[in-house]
């Protein structure tokens, strides 16, 4: 038991938690924007793969790291455009389109990878983002170590703040919340349902891709095919967990990241010698499901989520 307490009070544990949470926060904010506008974006898993791949490849080809982030974002927005054209003006099934986008994006990434690096057996490395030195803060004991994070992590938290501010403090956010609840209300007030929803899906997809790029540009230094590994689906659950609210969703991401960081460390304790490691791997998911059940009971789902809007339909 004391081993667990030791883990929980160590700065390195919390540094890991924040690091693991960052890509989840970025992609969860992306999904949250989409769903608040009334569009479920199941393309998230594939869009994260595309973001991870394109960001890494751009840097490998000689672009600066922030250039890689921009390329990833653009690639994500491109898939977001595809998703939104099919789901918003055409009103196709959001499940089918989302899964299709995930398959297409994942396959495109591996296709492009093979095309661009035909002879490579182990993926080449890049120099990723380094932890940011913040005068004063970084010199503090414990906290300095826990907050020894890359610029992209700080950006992830800034994005969460920006999304919350936009959603609750600007007319754009008001329109976004309304269009996911009752698109007819938005149209009757002279705004474009199509424009708002497509914009939300495109921007949201861009954020998902940056979340994916975090994995190759900040967390690891290379690209593997399995690296996204279901994080996109976790983000969809986190949106529900957060009851479609940015603040709660960030908390959910941190909670999941904490379980994840904990299980890695638990594997190295005496417990790890007794229990099969697969059990530890499953732990964050099991606990997430539990938390999801407890938290999402009274969540207010956007009423028009997954309901296509056809102007002029009777």
């Amino acid at each position: 038991m004391s081993e667990i307490v030791d883990i929980l009070i160590s700065a390195s544990f919390w540094a890991a938690v924040i690091r693991i949470a960052s890509p989840l926060i970025l992609a969860t904010m992306g999904e949250l924007i989409c769903e608040r506008a009334g569009v479920l974006n199941l393309g998230i898993e594939g869009i994260m793969v595309i973001g991870a791949f394109t960001g890494w490849m751009a840097v490998y080809q000689g672009m600066p790291l922030w250039g890689g982030v921009a390329v990833a974002m653009a690639a994500g927005m491109l898939f977001g455009l595809l998703h939104s054209v099919l789901t918003v003006p055409f009103g196709l099934s959001q499940h089918v389109v989302g899964l299709g986008v995930t398959l297409l994006a994942t396959a495109s990434a591996s296709f492009a990878y093979r095309l661009m690096l035909p002879q490579v057996t182990s993926p080449p490395k890049i120099t990723p983002f380094q932890p940011l030195y913040i005068p004063g803060l970084s010199d503090l004991p414990w906290l300095g170590a826990a907050l020894s994070q890359t610029a992209l992590t700080w950006a992830a938290f800034a994005v969460a703040g920006l999304v919350a501010f936009t959603l609750y403090r600007t007319p754009l956010g008001l329109a976004l919340r309304a269009v996911g609840e009752n698109p007819a209300a938005v149209e009757a007030q002279g705004l474009s349902v199509t424009g708002l929803r497509m914009g939300a899906v495109i921007v949201g997809s861009g954020l998902m891709a940056v979340g994916g790029a975090f994995l190759t540009l900040s967390a690891f230094s290379s690209f593997f095919f399995e690296m996204v590994n279901g994080r996109g689906w976790i983000c969809i659950a986190l949106v529900v967990f957060g009851a479609w609210k940015p603040g709660k969703a960030v908390l959910g991401a941190i909670l999941f990241a904490a379980f994840d960081a904990l299980q890695i460390r638990l594997q190295q304790t005496a417990l790890g010698a007794v229990l099969p490691y697969q059990l530890f791997l499953a732990l964050p998911f099991l606990l997430s499901i539990l938390a999801l059940i407890l938290m999402s009971r009274r969540a207010e789902v956007p009423a028009a989520l997954m309901v296509p809007y056809n102007k002029g339909e009777r």
């Binding site: 403090r169 600007t170 007319p171 754009l172 008001l174 329109a175 919340r177 309304a178 609840e181 009752n182 007819a184 209300a185 938005v186 149209e187 009757a188 007030q189 002279g190 705004l191 207010e300 956007p302 009423a303 102007k311 002029g312 009777r314």
Partner: protein
């Protein structure tokens, strides 16, 4: 309200034509509206009233014709342009976002998307509420408001945008008579300030009370335009339906024995919908029991008990003098309870099934199967019998029910319910959304069923319907049931007070 024909013309619709496939919803409709007047747009369901207003507001694009507001042409298909020109619309199905507050709903779309929100909004809304008698809490979540309050928000939304022309689409359909009176008072205040109103309705007495002028539509055409003070209800009704048409009126009859009795039945509340609160009710053979009330006051819970979908949480249900041991929809059907559900699309039919399949939904395991196999021959014969006997206009029994009009769909459901000769008929909003012809037909069938000895429970929001058909009337409010009032003993205004829940308090205090 002055009728000064020299007043400024604020709105001119010129020969608007709109087709949906083979249906011509509007056929060269022209209409002018002057400053400070109320024009009623009158017509049956499907006459093209709402289509016309949706064209004016830019939800639809007309195939031909033009719209002018204050002398300027309005670009088609653009609600934003209509709003900017001073046209405000209160839709029949409110266009409000339930997750936002009243103030947020009003502000929506009035500010640039990237600007900071406008600080004076609250004061402006407060001033408008005061000036027009539209009291509503600006910080309340719209999802928690009553229907009447939501309508006030809709009107405030239009006024907030400085609308000069207010379009109200069937505004009283969901209101109690008292709420409707408050709405009319608001409209009078609005016209006194120089606003103009288009009032869409098919309720003649309201039109007579509130409008200066009446434009009557039938089958998408303007068939008459009259000053309300120069006409009467009968003349307007004749214009609407194209000939004299009298709605059936049930004559009084001596009722038979009690077939179903609810004794102090209560059910739990379900979210915002109240459950039943110690409801006692008797359904007698040969009697139509009318249940008036604004929907969402427990009618659904009562219908579920009668139809076998739910059991009382407290109290007893008696059927033919016994308490049934099991009470399920199948049991209810077997014991002679027929149901005409409130929502014919979601509860009454399966859209992509054909008429035969829909006709046998309540009997496919009993009357239309043999040793576990469907008897399609008998099913088809049954469907054909209903189509013929109940005048269901359709290409044939293999038509998918989705393609039928509401009236014809309802006739099929009616036939399905009445064909086995049920003892107890639960008719929940049986004529909602039907045109006058179909209404007369459905109501006549209910009366015929009563006359052969069935007990009919008629649930309706339409007081006129309740009062003309029912032998006894109850009113529901907040899950409570009023005492039974015999035919002709109560006026609409008195029933309205019960609907608003006021009389329950008095009865309780007394």
């Amino acid at each position: 309200m002055s009728r000064d024909s020299g007043a400024e013309v604020v709105l001119r619709l010129d020969r608007i034509t709109k087709r949906f496939g083979a249906l011509t919803a509007n056929d060269a409709v022209s209409l002018t509206l002057r400053r400070g007047e109320v024009v009623a747009l009158l017509g049956e369901n499907g006459a093209g009233k709402t289509t016309l207003m949706n064209i004016l507001f830019g939800h639809y694009v007309a195939d031909a014709g033009s719209v002018e507001v204050f002398g300027r042409p309005l670009p088609p298909g653009n609600p934003r342009a209509a709003l900017a020109a001073g046209v405000g619309m209160v839709h029949q199905h409110f266009t409000l976002a339930g997750n936002l507050t009243v103030l947020e709903n009003i502000r929506l779309g009035t500010e640039g998307l990237w600007s900071r929100s406008y600080a004076g909004a609250r004061e402006k809304v407060a001033r408008l509420s005061r000036d027009f008698g539209l009291s509503v809490d600006p910080d309340a979540r719209v999802g928690r408001l009553s229907v009447g309050e939501r309508q006030r928000v809709e009107i405030l939304k239009a006024l907030y945008r400085d609308a000069r022309v207010l379009i109200l689409d069937e505004p009283t359909a969901v209101l109690t008579p008292q709420e409707a009176e408050a709405l009319f008072a608001t409209l009078r205040k609005a016209t006194a300030r120089g606003l103009s109103v288009i009032f869409i309705s098919h309720k003649l007495h309201e039109v007579m009370g509130v409008a200066d002028r009446c434009v009557v539509l039938r089958h998408g055409r303007v068939v008459g335009e009259v000053d309300t003070h120069a006409t009467d209800k009968a003349a307007l009704a004749a214009l609407m339906v194209g000939g004299e048409l009298s709605l059936p009126r049930a004559e009084a009859r001596t009722p038979g024995p009690v077939l179903m009795r609810l004794d102090q039945v209560s059910t739990p509340d379900r979210g915002a919908a109240p459950g039943l609160k110690a409801v006692s009710l008797e359904l007698r053979a040969g009697q139509i029991t009318g249940l008036a009330g604004v929907s969402g006051n427990g009618q659904a819970a009562l219908a579920e008990i009668v139809g076998g979908l739910a059991l009382p949480a407290a109290g007893q249900l008696w059927l033919h003098g016994q308490e049934p041991e099991t009470w399920t929809p199948r049991e209810a059907l077997a014991r002679g309870v027929a149901r005409i559900p409130e929502d014919r699309h979601h509860q009454g039919s399966i859209a992509d099934f054909d008429l035969t399949e829909n006709a046998v939904l309540e009997g496919y395991r009993t009357r239309f199967s043999r040793r576990g196999w469907m008897d399609w021959r008998a099913a088809r014969a049954f469907a054909e019998g209903i189509i013929k006997g109940y005048d269901v206009r359709c290409p044939g029994p293999e038509t998918r029910i989705r393609l039928l009009s509401g009236g014809n769909m309802q006739k099929l459901i009616l036939g399905r319910a009445l064909a086995p000769g049920p003892d107890i008929i639960l008719a929940n909003q049986p004529v909602r959304g039907l045109d006058v012809g179909a209404i007369a037909y459905v109501q006549a069938q209910l009366i015929a069923a009563r006359d052969r000895g069935a007990a009919v429970l008629l649930i309706s929001e339409d007081l006129d319907e309740i009062m003309s058909l029912s032998d006894v009337v109850h009113v529901m409010s907040q899950g409570r049931l009023s005492p039974a009032f015999a035919r002709g003993t109560m006026t609409a205004a008195e029933l309205g007070l019960w609907m608003a829940g006021q009389k329950f308090g008095e009865a309780h205090a007394a």
